[in-house]
């Protein structure tokens, strides 16, 4: 039971189709090329609905706790991206290192990802990992997911490039991305 039942979390409502009015100022910020540090990677892909149609009005937020430094006044480690008319997004970010897991073990490099769009009454929560990362095999959270669905959490390296990854988010259907309860 809750100790303070009067402080029940407020209900979520959809971000709707018009969120760019209020949220775009922090979205799709292109990092200063001169400031691009080693370890910068690009993740791109599409957000798709149950029929494979592109979700053109999705908002994605990527979070890693490993980059605390502010960038141009914006918080480090936080990347807000929206999809375009083809449902495609592209984000450049600092690839996280592996990190500790509570109670022992190591987590593979990953970011937490929030998904918002018209049609989603609550945001979804998922994680993105990186292909060709040996520590993936021992990541406790990846291992907690059915092996058949585990690939939906792993961005695949784009052939010929070590710093570019492709990762689609499928909201529903046979290739549905693993989403987390929280």
């Amino acid at each position: 039971m809750k100790e303070n039942p009067q402080f029940i979390p407020s209900g979520s409502q959809t971000v709707g189709p018009f969120f760019t009015i209020g949220l775009d100022y922090m979205a799709n910020r292109v990092p200063n090329v001169a400031a691009a540090a080693p370890g910068t990677v690009e993740i791109s892909g599409r957000v798709l609905d149950s029929t494979g149609n592109p979700v053109r009005d999705a908002l994605l937020e990527f979070w890693t706790s490993q980059s605390a430094a502010h960038q141009d006044g914006f918080p480090g480690g936080f990347y807000r991206i929206r999809t375009g008319d083809d449902g495609r997004y592209c984000v450049s970010l600092q690839k996280p290192e592996s990190g500790p897991y509570p109670g022992g073990g190591r987590q593979a490099p990953h970011l937490l990802v929030l998904v918002f769009c018209r049609g989603l009454l609550r945001n979804l929560v998922t994680r993105v990992y990186f292909g060709h990362e040996p520590t993936n095999d021992a990541d406790p959270i990846l291992l907690s997911v059915d092996s058949e669905r585990r690939p939906t959490l792993i961005a695949q390296r784009i052939s010929g490039r070590s710093d570019a990854f492709e990762w689609n988010i499928v909201l529903q259907g046979a290739d549905e991305t693993v989403f987390f309860a929280w």
Partner: protein, 236 residues
């Protein structure tokens, strides 16, 4: 570093992903079971916003253009709290809304109501040490949408909030008291619990209204999570 521990939501207080009365949810909601996510440092932390992130007048939607927007001028204020009732300090609050005629300044809004050259409809602010925020804006209009025949959204302001941890993140909508469209609105009614729905309805606050100038509406928000900031002087 601030962290927050999140526990499952109380039954009925959050919408289900799949809610057919809201047509757009049908093809965009997951059907597979959600996987329990243990809380690691990634989940317990979140972006920290510096006070310099907010510029003067970001929280006054009536002064962003050469003239004043049309419509009823209002103040919207409230507190952002965690699940222990403690203030969420330095929490980023972002809002967006339709103008007084019920029209958004957005390329996909084709409602034949006039745009207002003096109204963009976007604001943001950071909460103070008591978790308080404040906006000046205009009362948004109701507007039609395509969910079903003769569907109209009740008057609302979109809210986006950040708490101490990324899992405290909340996007919601603030409604206005006494709006008969709420009972007909599938988005509002997607929250099963009636009391939880009512907590999204702001309260007319005559104590904060300004005579001969503007009405005020109060809207408190509780974010998920138990912040790690130490208890203050109150009991426990």
């Amino acid at each position: 570093m601030h962290t927050a521990v999140v526990e499952p939501a109380a039954p009925g207080t959050q919408p289900e992903y799949h809610y057919p009365p809201y047509a757009a949810s049908v093809a965009r909601s997951p059907r597979m079971p959600l996987v329990i996510l243990p809380e690691t440092l990634t989940e317990k932390t979140g972006p920290v916003f510096d006070r310099t992130f907010i510029r003067k007048n970001d929280n006054d939607l009536t002064v962003q253009h050469a003239g004043e927007p049309l419509g009823e001028r209002i103040f919207v204020h409230g507190r952002v709290l965690d699940e222990d009732g403690r203030p969420a300090r330095n929490a980023l609050v972002e809002i967006w809304q339709a103008n007084a005629a019920g029209r958004y300044r957005h390329k996909v809004d084709n409602h034949p109501a006039p745009l207002d050259p003096n109204f963009s409809g976007a604001g943001r602010t950071l909460t103070d040490d008591d978790g308080c925020y404040w906006f000046k804006t205009i009362l948004p209009g109701a507007y039609p949408w395509g969910n079903h025949y003769n569907a109209w959204r009740p008057k609302h302001i979109h809210f986006s909030l950040f708490g101490a941890g990324i899992l405290s993140r909340l996007v919601t909508q603030m409604y206005f008291p006494g709006d008969p469209l709420q009972a007909l609105d599938p988005i509002f009614n997607s929250i099963p619990d009636a009391a939880a729905r009512q907590r999204l309805v702001s309260r007319l606050d005559m104590d904060r209204a300004e005579a001969n100038y503007a009405l005020a509406f109060a809207f408190d928000v509780v974010l998920r999570g138990h912040n790690d900031t130490p208890f203050e002087t109150e009991s426990k």
